[in-house]
Subunit: 317 residues, 2 copies
C-alpha cells in the first residue's frame, strides 16, 4: 500500500495539473437552500474536462510518471469516467492508454474513452473479469497501471477540487459533502478540507443500496462483499484500502439516500441549477435532503462529481 | 413608440439591476469548437435568476418606475420567461404582478410565475386573447404594463448580458449571436456590442419555421403575419417595432435553423456543456452549425438565453 497522501500532496497535485484542468465554477440556488434548510455551494465538476472530477486524479497520476514509465503507456479499468480521464490525460501527455471496461458501461462513457484515443478492452461486468483484463493488457504492453481510487496520486488529484472550492467561497464552509464509492474523491476531499481547517466536517454520500462505505467505517473494517445494485453507475465499487485508512483517520461521516431520493435530487439539479448531472453526482444532495440534521443552518459545499449519462432516457421518465 | 435606447441606457440598466441580477458565468467546449469551426464562448443566462435573460429587462423596467407607478402593480403578457421575470422583479420590489399567459404555456413556466407570487391570468393562445386579457387586468387594477420586448427599458436591460460577456472574455469577440423572436434580446445585444466596438458583428438566430425577423430585415418592413410553428416556445412572437428599428440601424444579420437542427444543438449543449437549456436557447448554436460561413475561424459569443423546460420528455426522446 502506498503512503497516505497529505495536504502537501494535494497542493503539489494542484500545481502539477493546473495547466490541464479547468477551474470549475461554483453555483448556488436560493430555492434549493430553502428546500435543504442550509446554504449549499455546488462545485461543478460536471464542467471539468471529460465531464467529471476524475480528470484531476488521472491527470495527477499520468503527469507524475517519469518519461520512461509514461512512454510504456497507461492501463486502467473503469466503469466510465476514470477511463475517459486516463484516456484524455494520456492523450495530453502523448502516450498510449488502455482502458478495460465492463460491457455494462453507459454508451456515452464508452464512446468518450474511444474519442480520447484510448484502446478500449471490453470485459464481463465482474471484478474478476476486470482484473483479468488488466493483467492481460499489462502483460501484453508493459503499461503502467493507474488504479481508479486505491492510488495516492489519484487521491491527491481528486482533493484539488476541494482546494479550489475553499478558495472560491466568499465565506468559510462548515461542511463539505462528496459522493463515495471506491473513496478516491471523498478521501482527497477530507485531506484537502482538513488541510485548510480542522473545523470543516467532511461527509460522504452513497446510495443506500451500495452503503458499504458507511458500514465499513461503522464496523472499522472494509466490507468488500456487498450486493450493490444502484442507478449510480459511478458508485458501484467498494471502498478501497487507502481511502478506508484515510477516511478513518479523518472521522468522515457517511449519509445515504434511496434510489428514488437520488432520482428526485438529480431532477432538482436539472430544474433548479440547470445542470446536467449523472445519478452519481446527485447522491450528495439526495443524502442532505434525506438526512438534514448534520447540515441544517450550515454552509455546505457539495462536490458535483460528473455529468456523463445517456440522455436517451432520463431516470424519472 | 419610445426613443431608441443607446449604450448609455444599457450602462444605466447594468448599474440599476446590479443588486438583483446574477453575473452569469461563461463556458467553453473544445469539442463544440471543433464541430463549429470557430471558438464559441457561451454566456450562460440559463443560470440567471428565473432561469432566463428575461430577468434583466424585467428588472430594469420594474426598478425604473417611480414609487407611485410601481405601487399600482405591474401587468404583462408572456408565453413564459418574461412573465416569471416580471413576477420575480415585482416581488423583489414588493409590488403586485399580473401575468396573462396563454394556455399553451409549459407547465414549468406557469408554475414558476405563480411561485414568484404573481396573479396568473389564463387566456387562449392567440395574440388577440392575450391583448384582451391585458386590457382587462389593467382596467381592473390600474397596473402599469411592461411589454416583453417593445419597451426601451426592457431592451436596455437585455443588453446588459452582452456588456458582461464582453468584460468576461479574455480576448475580443468578433461576433455575438443571440436568439431573436420579438427582438428585445437581439436589439439590446446589438446596442451593447456596438457601444463597445463597432467591429463586432451581431447575428440573430431564429427557427426557419418562425423566420419573420430574417424576412422583415431583408424586406425592410415588419412582417407580422407569419405562420409560426416551432418547438421553441420562447420564440413565437414576431419582431417588435422598436427592436426592428434598432436591428435595421445596427445592420444585424439573421441565420436560421430547422427544428431538427435545433433539437440536435440542444442535445449537444446538454451533452458537451452539461447545460440544461430550453429549445429557444439552442437556436443560436444550431444556426451557427447550419450556416457556418459568417463564423468560421472567429471568436463567437453566444447568448444562452434560458433553461426552463418541462423535463418530463426531452425533444429528442
Amino acid at each position: 500500500m502506498n503512503a497516505l497522501p497529505d495536504i502537501d500532496a494535494v497542493e503539489t497535485a494542484a500545481r502539477r495539473i493546473a495547466p490541464w484542468v479547468r477551474r470549475t465554477v461554483i453555483l448556488q440556488s436560493a430555492s434549493l437552500d430553502a428546500l435543504a434548510g442550509c446554504e449549499l455551494v455546488f462545485k461543478c465538476e460536471n464542467f471539468q474536462r471529460v465531464g467529471a472530477f476524475k480528470f484531476r486524479g488521472a491527470c495527477n497520476a499520468v503527469f507524475s510518471l517519469d518519461d520512461a514509465d509514461a512512454a510504456r503507456g497507461i492501463a486502467t479499468q473503469s466503469s466510465g469516467n476514470h477511463g475517459a480521464a486516463i484516456a484524455r490525460a494520456a492523450q495530453l501527455r502523448g502516450v498510449p492508454a488502455y482502458v478495460v471496461v465492463p460491457t455494462s458501461i453507459a454508451a456515452t462513457k464508452r464512446a468518450a474513452i474511444a474519442r480520447y484515443g484510448a484502446r478500449v478492452i471490453d470485459c464481463a461486468p465482474t471484478m474478476a473479469a476486470r482484473n483479468a483484463g488488466m493483467a492481460e493488457v499489462i502483460a501484453e504492453t508493459g503499461a503502467v497501471a493507474v488504479h481508479p481510487f486505491d492510488d495516492a496520486r489519484v487521491i491527491a488529484g481528486q482533493g484539488t477540487a476541494t482546494l479550489e472550492l475553499l478558495e472560491q467561497v466568499t465565506a468559510p464552509l462548515d461542511v463539505v459533502v462528496a459522493p463515495v464509492s471506491g473513496g478516491g474523491l471523498l478521501s482527497g476531499t477530507a485531506i484537502a478540507a482538513h488541510g485548510r481547517s480542522t473545523h470543516i466536517q467532511v461527509w460522504g454520500a452513497e446510495p443506500a443500496s451500495a452503503a458499504d462505505a458507511q458500514a465499513s467505517l461503522a464496523q472499522g473494517r472494509r466490507i468488500t462483499e456487498w450486493p450493490i445494485d444502484t442507478i449510480c453507475d459511478g458508485l458501484r465499487a467498494t471502498l478501497g484500502e487507502l481511502p478506508f485508512a484515510i477516511l478513518r483517520e479523518h472521522a468522515t461521516g457517511v449519509a445515504t439516500a434511496t434510489e428514488d431520493q437520488i432520482v428526485a435530487a438529480m431532477r432538482l439539479m436539472f430544474e433548479r441549477l440547470k445542470l446536467v448531472v449523472e445519478p452519481s453526482a446527485a447522491v450528495a444532495l439526495a443524502a442532505i435532503l434525506a438526512h438534514p440534521e448534520p447540515f441544517t443552518g450550515k454552509r455546505v459545499g457539495v462536490i458535483v462529481s460528473g455529468g456523463n449519462l445517456d440522455l436517451e432516457r432520463l431516470p424519472w421518465q
